[in-house]
Amino acid sequence: MSIRVRFFASLREQMGYSEKSIAFEGLATVSDVLERLDKARILDAQVLYAVNMEYANSDTPVKDGDEVAFFPPVTGGGP
């Protein structure tokens, strides 16, 4: 019963790790996942959320085994 949490780019560097597994108990939404992590640090970064590789928001529900990702604004493509 766990959630896989992943971080990318500057947020990964800020957090100091790229992923961690957290216990699922007590988690209903992305918001709850955030509460369990170092929330202040994450929110500083205008962070975007994804649940199972789809964009999500703080109200998006999570279930056991989900992958929840946090990352900064995207910067792909050419100039």
Binding site: F8, A9, M53, P72, V74, T75, G78
Partner: protein, 145 residues
């Protein structure tokens, strides 16, 4: 449709040409091909950039690029779309992204090609880290097109 995350040097013209040759069924059907190639510059925001690392989210990036290409085919009357985006270590002048769109008439190809680039820039999970003389920095935000 071909959508790919590319881990080594990207050759835009060869990619477009060879993909088009494989779509023999489109011969005589398309009148318009619109393409866009994004290329790494040696400057950004007033600073010289010597190298760049392009990070992505394996799995989500591929899936999301496929969505963007499919979205364009729903919104515009196009025949086919090619979309390839580079990741990894890049030097100035290296191609970053190639988009090609085939359609019967030119309006749809132009519209779709540009729409794909705008959606990619604002939503596709890629992150650029630039290596400057003074150190490294993450590109904070994409500029609107």
């Amino acid at each position: 449709m071909k959508v790919e995350v590319c881990f080594s040097a990207l050759e835009p013209w060869a990619e477009i040409r060879s993909y088009q040759e494989r779509r023999k069924d489109l011969d005589g059907k398309f009148g318009a091909t619109a393409c866009f190639i994004g290329t790494m510059r040696d400057f950004n925001d007033g600073d010289g950039v010597s190298r760049m690392t392009l990070e992505h989210y394996p799995g989500m990036t591929q899936r999301h690029l496929e969505k963007i290409a499919a979205h364009a085919t729903e919104r515009f009357p196009v025949l086919d779309v090619l979309l390839i985006h580079r990741v990894g270590e890049l030097s100035p002048n290296d191609p970053i992204v190639v988009v090609a769109v085939w359609s019967a008439h030119r309006g749809a190809a132009f519209d779709a090609c540009r729409a794909i680039m705008e959606e990619l820039k604002s939503t596709a999970p890629f992150w650029k880290k630039e290596i400057l003389e003074t150190g490294a920095r993450w590109v904070a935000k994409n500029t609107p097109g």
